[in-house]
Structure formats: C-alpha cells, structure tokens
C-alpha cells in the first residue's frame, strides 16, 4: 500500500555564547574532560542557576527569524528523569510557556515551495557526555562521565508534523541551519554535536486525517543520516503495516554503520517527566519593543541574500541558492566580489574548483586555504591575460597546497602567458616547417588539422602561448 509519510523534526542547537546558560563556565568545545565545570553545572547541593542574558537574546533572534510569535511571558521548568549525564537528574528547560511559538519556514524541494510550521522554540541546558569502552553503552561494564557540556545553552526547535519526505526533512534542516548561522547564534557543527536532530515519523493511508503511530528516531548526526535514517524508518514501518501489524510508539536510535534504526526501549516504565516550574529562576518578560528592535536589527537572511545576488549580479536562482545556503560560502562570495572580482566568474569558481577541493578534503569554506582576496587576484590574472583559464587551474592547485599568492606562483614557475608576437611567430613558423602533412591537410580543406598544429605550439610553450594570438598568427601564415 502507498502511505503518506508524516515527519516532525526536533532540532537541538548549541548557542554560541561565551559562558553556559546558568553559570559562568566556558562553553569551549574540546577542553579536557571535567575542566569547564563548577558547583552550579555539577549540580552540587546548594547551588542556584542564573540565566545568561545572551541566551534569551539569541532565542528571541531565532524566534523572530523563524517567523515565530515571541511570548511576552515565558518561564523555565524542570524536566525530571534519571540519567548519569544529567547531574541534577532534571533538565532545566521550558514546558508550557516557551520563549517562541507558532512560527514557520518556507523550503524549496524539487522546484516547489512548501511551508513547514514551527510549533515552538525553547531554551534549555545541554547534558554531559558519556564515554564507554565497549561497542555500545549498554554492552560496556561501566561508563565515564564528562560534565563539560553540561549547561551549554541549547535551543530546541520543534516543527509541526508537516514534513512529507526525507528530502523535505533534509531541506528543512539545511534551511534552519543556514538561518541559525546567518544569525550568528550557533556554530551548527553537526560533527561536533552543536546541531542535532530527532525525527518523529509515522505513516498513514493517503486521505486519512488521523496521524499514525509514530516512532522517534534519535542520533541523526549528519544531513546524510537524517535522510538515510528517515528512509530506513519509512520502509520499516511500511513493512509492518503491509503485514497487518502495528507500529509501536517508541524511541529508536539510528545506527549509522549498520544503516538501521533500533529500539531503545528499556525494561523501565515509560518516562513521566513530572515537569514543575523551576523555583530557582524567575519568569522572563519580553517587551514587544525589544522584539521590534531585534527584528529591525536582524542580519540579512538566506532568502533575502539569494534575491540580492540574483538582482545585483544576475546570478541564476540555482547558483544564488547554492551560494547562500551556507553563510560562510556567501560571505566568501561577497568578499571576493568586493575585491573587484567578476560576480559570475567568482560564482563559477566557488561552485567549481573551490567546492571540488573542499569536498575532496572534507573541510568547510571556513578552513579554505585560499582566501577570497587570493582567489580574486587569481581571477584578475586571467582577466588581464597574464595566464589562461587552464593555467589558472594549475595555479589554484598550487595555491591550495603552498598557500602562496597567485602572482608569486606564476612568476616562480614561469607561467606568464606569452603574448609577444615575434616570439609566437618564431614558434608558429617552426611548427609549420616541421609538420608539412598537417599543413597540406589544412590547405586541402580539413579544418580540423589546425587543431593539431595549435596543440604542437602549446606543447612547445607548455601551454603559455596566448591562445588567441596563436590562432590568428597560424591562420595568417597558412
């Protein structure tokens, strides 16, 4: 049977603050275990939390950018459950009055625009990290706990079950990520866990209004795993339903290596989080004027930037979309253009050579060894005729590894284009003399033969001869 796929995403993103949400410990990633901890984030007896104002500001920013309503009165609550990565055995989060509600985001999939509604955005603290010796945590005899991440501020962005395919889920996640990056509120590094995603997935026969029973998939730690995890889960549920079975409401974890989802159901009874208002924190009241001010000062967001690239530089919607899907790439583009680079040429290089090299090394543009200024200088050499497009690719290769400027490489390697006509004439004449057969062929009307002669000239000049001049001079001599 053909089912409708219903997906809701819960995105967790760590906020880019200096200090944790409720204490002054650093949020720095990668510190030695248990060195960014204090009595407050260790949950020692007697400690009290104090809200980091930046977290609230970032949450409002994200709320506004995701078209949410910012609640004028919001509060923190305790979510109670026992787990060793949670020192207090409750997570300070927001329950019935989150900071932002009722938002939406428009995504494009296969050329069509679709609106995904956002239920809510709330602030909460992250948990610590468990390290285990065995293959999985359950198969290890013991575990080690590092509380550095405990109390790092998180936003949880919960979508409505409006997503209908793995592609849509991926597009939505990519767009949320791009917006958070543009707002500069999160690093959104999925590989470091600063952006994480859980998916609620259910199926229902087309036309049925009621939702099917859902499974929650955790541990979707990359765009690839979001897509693969959802695709797997859809097939799993389809098979169950086709066999006349029932999907069990449960939490499942995505196993990237095996490419499957597996049940996390424990023998303990279902969670009962016993939320209660956090008595150690007072409510947050947001003045509409503050929201208006934040709205007015929002940075340019991906959709606006894409439009600007199309309008100002005549880029295609597709190209502009690719460039603006990452703030860092778009920034690289803008900086290159500001250095007098030709926008379309920059765009081609970004999506061509630059992107090819980044992908093969598995790094992001933030770690690109060639700076926007260096790239523009390279492109200027082409424009001035100092080097050909083909030589430029060789130079770029060299820039990537040596980090030297294009001009230096061109000089060192003697790659300057030969545009001196007397020098080229000498070579053209010698090639004509050495290849009488090709000359005869050409004169007999075989136009292709000229290609061979050009090739010979380029070979002798190691590609440095100005191609236009070679063509003109050759045809004159013939």
């Amino acid at each position: 049977m053909d089912y409708e796929i219903v997906i809701g995403l819960e995105i967790h993103t760590e906020l880019k603050t200096n200090s944790k949400i409720f204490c002054g410990c650093s949020t720095k990633f990668g510190s030695e275990q248990n060195t960014n901890v204090c009595p407050v984030c260790l949950g020692l007896p007697g400690v009290l939390p104090v809200i980091n104002e930046k977290v609230v500001e970032f949450a409002i920013k994200a709320g506004v950018a995701l078209n949410c309503e910012i609640l004028p009165f919001s509060k923190f609550d305790r979510k109670n459950y026992y787990y060793p990565d949670l020192p207090k055995n409750f997570q300070t989060s927001q329950y019935d009055l989150p900071i932002a509600v009722n938002g939406h985001l428009d995504i494009e999939v296969n050329g069509e625009t679709k609106r995904i509604n956002i239920t809510r955005i709330h602030m909460e603290e992250d948990a610590g990290k468990l390290v285990h010796s065995g293959a999985t945590i359950s198969s290890s005899d013991s575990a080690l706990v590092d509380y550095n991440r405990t109390g790092v501020p998180l936003l949880e962005i919960v979508s409505e079950p409006d997503i209908r395919s793995a592609e849509e889920a991926r597009a939505y996640l990519e767009k949320v990520k791009a917006i958070l990056e543009y707002l500069d509120v999160s690093d959104c590094k999925m590989e470091e866990g600063s952006l994480r995603c859980d998916a609620n997935i259910s199926l229902r026969p087309h036309g049925q209004a009621a939702l099917g029973t859902k499974a929650e998939i955790k541990n979707l730690n990359s765009f690839r795993s979001v897509q693969r995890g959802i695709e797997y889960e859809v097939i799993r549920q389809e098979e169950i339903l086709d066999d006349g079975g029932r999907v069990i409401q449960e939490t499942r974890t995505w196993d990237e290596n095996k490419g499957i989802t597996a049940s996390m159901r424990s023998k303990e009874q279902a969670h009962d989080y016993r939320y209660l208002p956090e008595p150690d924190l007072v409510p947050i009241v947001v003045d509409p004027a503050r929201v208006a001010e934040i709205r007015a000062n929002l940075p340019e967001l991906p959709d606006a930037r894409r439009q600007r690239l199309m309008n100002n530089y005549g880029l295609s919607e597709y190209d502009a979309g690719i460039i603006t899907s990452s703030k860092a790439v778009a920034d690289y583009f803008d900086q290159s253009v500001q250095n007098n680079g030709d926008a379309k040429v920059v765009a081609n290089w970004l999506m061509g050579e630059v992107s090819k090299h980044l992908n093969s090394e598995g790094i992001t543009i933030l770690d690109c060894p060639v700076s926007p200024k260096q790239l523009t200088e390279l492109l200027t050499l082409i424009e001035k005729g100092t080097i050909s497009n083909k030589i430029a690719k060789t130079v770029f290769e060299e820039m990537w590894t040596s980090r030297k400027d294009a001009e230096v490489i061109v000089k060192e390697k003697g790659l300057v284009q030969i545009s001196d006509s007397s020098e080229i004439v000498a070579i053209v004449e010698s090639v004509i003399a050495a290849n009488p057969r090709s000359v005869a062929d050409f004169k007999a009307g075989k136009d292709k033969a000229i290609g061979f002669l050009v090739g010979q000239i380029m070979k002798q000049t190691k590609g440095r001869a100005n191609p236009d001049m070679v063509n003109t001079l050759l045809r004159e001599r013939l």
Binding site: L42, G43, G46, N80, Y82, P84, N89, D280, L281
Partner: protein, 487 residues
C-alpha cells in the same frame, strides 16, 4: 555570669573594651560544648581549631585598634545544610556523610567577612524535613530545657545550641517553620526573613520556593545584628530581592504606640495547648497596654495551607533531591547497573521521612495527579497569600502562637507523620506567602518555653523587630537560661 550565657551584643562590648579576648570567649563556649553536648547533641561537626584561629585573628585586629563588627570574635553555629568550603556539610543525611563542599554559601562568606567565629555545624532533621530533629540521619538532639523532649526542628541543633550556651548565635533555615518552631521550643528568638531577603546560594535546597535562612539568637537585639550581616541582594541567587538593607538595629525601639495588631482567629486550632493560648492572650493584653491597637481578623484559607504545603514542598523536594544518586558526589552503594546503584544508594542512605516526602512529591507531580494535587496546591497558595495581603490592609503585624504546643517528648510522634506535620500549622502559611515572621519567648508551660509568632508584611522585618523588642523589654522570659547540668 559565665561568658556563654551572654548575648552577642553584650560580648561585643566586652571585646572592644578589652575586658575579654575572643580566644578566651571561644574557649569558654567550646568548654561549654564539651560539658553539655554529650546530652544535648547539637553538633554534627565541630570546627574548634579553625574557630580558635578565627578568634585569634579578631584579637589581633582589636589589639591593632581596628574597628570590628558586632559578630567579630563571637562564636556561633551554622545549620548543617549551609555549605562551608572545606568543611563537611551533611544535611544530617548519610547520603552526604562525607560531602565536603568546594564552595561557601553566600551567608558563610558574609559571616567570614565580618570575622564571626564558627564553632561547627548543627544537627537538623535530615534535609530539613521534620519538626523534631529526630529525623537526623545520625542522632537526635535534645531540648536543653528538658532532655527528654525534642528541641523542635528542623533547625533543632541550632536552637538547642543557642539555648544551651553551646553557641551565642546560630543560623537556621525555615521552609515551613524550621527556625521559628525550634526557637519556640527552646525559648530563644528565631527570625524567618521575607523570602528573598537572605541569599539561598549554598543552602542545600529542600523546597526552593519556601526555603529561607535566618538567625536564631538569645534576644531580639542579636537577631537584628545578625540580620544586618546576612541580608541583601546576591547575584548568585535569582530569587534574592534587589533592594537596600536597612539597619535593623534602628528598629530596636521600645515603643509600639499605634501599632495595629491582628489576631487571626483561624490559628487557634483544635488541639492547641490551653497554656499556649493563655500565654498569647496575655501577651496581646500586654501589647495593648503598651499602646498597640488590637483587632481579631479572619484568614479563611488557613485550614488549607497545611495541605497545600505538604504537596508543594514535597514536589519541589522530589526534584531537588534527585541529584543524590551516587554518581558524582556523596554516598554510593554499588549495584549491578546504574539503576540498581541509584536505588540501592538512595534506599539505604535516605531516612524514612525523606523517602516519604520524595514519594509524596513524586506522586503529586506524576501524570494524572498533577492537576488534582500539585496545581491545586499552587492555586490554594494564591488564596493563602491573598489572605495575608488583605490582613495587612487592616493591620501592621499578625500575632499567633508559633506552635500549638510546647516541646513534646522524643519518640512521641515519630510513628505518626501527620501528627508531626500538624505542629507546623501556625508557621506554614507564612512560608507559602513569603512574608517575614519572628518567634520570641512569651511564657512557660510546665517549665517549657512557649513561643509567640509576630508576622509582618513583605520586607516588614523592621516592624516585627520593633514589636518583638518592645515585648521583650517589658518581660524577662528571654533571660531565663535552660537548667542544664554540666556532665
């Protein structure tokens, strides 16, 4: 008179006049502890060495002619739920028997800043849950007025220490009456400040929306002095009030002319000791004779306060006490896996009353019961608070007994939790409303002290101190010293 029988303000005069030294005073009180604590059992941890070093430092300052605070060099005790850096803080629980905080509570920092001498950490009901100090995980404390009776609780160790001359002053904490009721039972002065007046940072939480630290002293004057030191805004406590602290000693004025006193009739509950009722009525007459205006008022939701409290406090406690799990600090009992370890640790190391309240609170918050119990209790809390708001439109202070009876016998109520809870009936509404209240001695019944509670408006500490001081100056109940034999 022996040094340990004096008040802090009296001893301060002697120190600055160089009649005595702080070391001499500290040794005298330490000697008293040696002589009587075997019977009273007020202390869990004693810090005699550091106390003498602190006293020595104060003597040097006085020798150098430096100005010192009223509490400088004066030995006191801290309830053992107030965190002290490098000094064991147990909450009288086996689960924290070896816990040494790596940080100081804000009040501990403030006391250190004025060179107060700390003799040790006082016994209490485990995690401040109880009204007799019999729930201590280690041993019960005895009432210095009669060793067969309880000192009250949960700050029983603090109150008994002050009453027995084992400390000149002490800090307690009050969630439902835990400063005032033991102060009443032990014949001393206990003040619960307005919620938010004193920082809770470093006070091990029982019920966070109700807990407040306050002084237990021999007289109202000392209470005002200690309040001056411990009160004030703290950036580490989001629920602390950010307004200036008045000089509470300016309220030590023997004059209540025109003060409007309200007597809420609902506080005179069934089961109240007739001697207690008589003592309060006599005190009211006396206050009226001193110039106060008196009127009986009604606070109709009083009868619901106890039930609301026994939902709200356990609910918060169930969450606050979840962290005692054997993972990163405190006692651990090994188990087959982590859940087994949690269960064994908590079941073995928590006492019955703590478990009872965790269970009650968990139940009140659990799915299906939240609306019926916890949410309803929060709504009743609103009504109780409104009773106070309305009462204070008519009067300046409210006067009630602190507890329905005087101190009861050890073991008398240990098997009947509800009977124990009923001892808090006069004190609990005050915590639910967040207002300040003081308990002062106002008579004796069969040789045991009776406490009178004076309740004030939010941040109305000055008014209750003035009323209490006036009553005290016109009586001598506070001058009686517990007839304790040294052994």
């Amino acid at each position: 008179m022996e040094l340990f029988k004096h008040t802090a303000s009296q001893l301060h005069e002697k120190l600055v006049a160089k009649e005595i030294s702080a070391v001499e005073l500290t040794k005298a009180v330490l000697g008293r502890v040696d002589a009587v604590d075997k019977n009273v059992q007020a202390y869990i941890t004693r810090t005699s060495e550091t106390a003498l070093a602190q006293a020595q430092a104060v003597d040097s300052k006085i020798q150098r002619g430096e100005k010192v605070s009223v509490l400088a060099g004066i030995p006191g005790a801290l309830k053992d739920n107030i965190c002290t850096k490098g000094i064991k803080t147990t909450c009288a629980s086996k689960i924290l028997a070896t816990f040494v905080p790596p940080y100081d509570a804000t009040v501990a920092e403030k006391l250190a800043a004025v060179d107060a001498v700390i003799l040790g950490k006082a016994n209490m009901d485990e995690f401040a849950m109880g009204g007799s100090t019999e729930n201590s995980g280690f041993f019960p404390t005895h009432n210095p007025w009669n060793l067969e009776t309880v000192p009250g609780g949960s700050s029983g160790g603090s109150a008994a220490a002050v009453a027995a001359g084992e400390a000149i002053w002490a800090l307690g904490s009050d969630t439902g009456g835990s400063i005032r009721q033991p102060a009443a039972y032990c014949g001393v002065v206990g003040l619960k400040p307005t919620y938010g007046r004193v920082s809770r940072y470093g006070l091990v939480a029982y019920a966070s929306s109700l807990d407040q630290i306050g002084p237990i002293t021999r007289d109202v004057t000392d209470s005002a002095h200690v309040m001056n030191i411990i009160s004030g805004y703290d950036v580490k406590d989001s629920t602390s009030i950010n307004t200036g602290v008045p000089d509470y000693t300016k309220s030590l004025v023997n004059n209540i002319k025109g003060l409007k006193i309200g007597l809420p009739k609902e506080y005179f509950v069934a089961g109240m000791d007739v001697e207690v009722e008589r003592a309060i009525n006599k005190a009211i007459e006396q206050l009226v004779a001193l110039g106060a205006e008196y009127k009986e008022i009604s606070m109709p939701h009083t009868e619901y306060a106890l039930s609301a409290y026994y939902m709200i406090a356990p609910a918060e406690a169930s969450s606050n006490l979840a962290r005692y799990d054997g993972v990163s600090f405190g006692h651990r009992v090994e188990g087959n896996d982590i859940i087994d370890m949690y269960k064994k640790t908590r079941s073995e190391a928590f006492g019955a009353e703590v478990k009872r309240r965790i269970m009650l609170g968990t139940y009140a918050l659990s799915s299906g019961y939240y609306d019926a119990y916890y949410l309803k209790a929060l709504k009743v809390r609103t009504l109780v608070k409104q009773d106070f708001d309305k009462a204070f439109e008519q009067v300046d202070v409210l006067i009630t007994p602190t507890a329905p009876t005087t101190a009861f016998k050890l073991g008398e109520k240990t098997n009947d939790p509800l009977a124990m809870y009923l001892q808090d009936v006069c004190t609990i509404p005050v915590n639910l409303s967040g207002v300040p209240a003081i308990s002062i001695p106002c008579g004796f019944a069969a040789g045991m002290p009776i406490g009178m509670q004076i309740i004030g408006k939010p941040l109305g500490e000055e008014t209750i101190i003035r009323a209490a001081y006036t009553f005290e100056q016109n009586n001598d109940y506070h001058k009686g010293f517990a007839p304790l034999r040294e052994v």
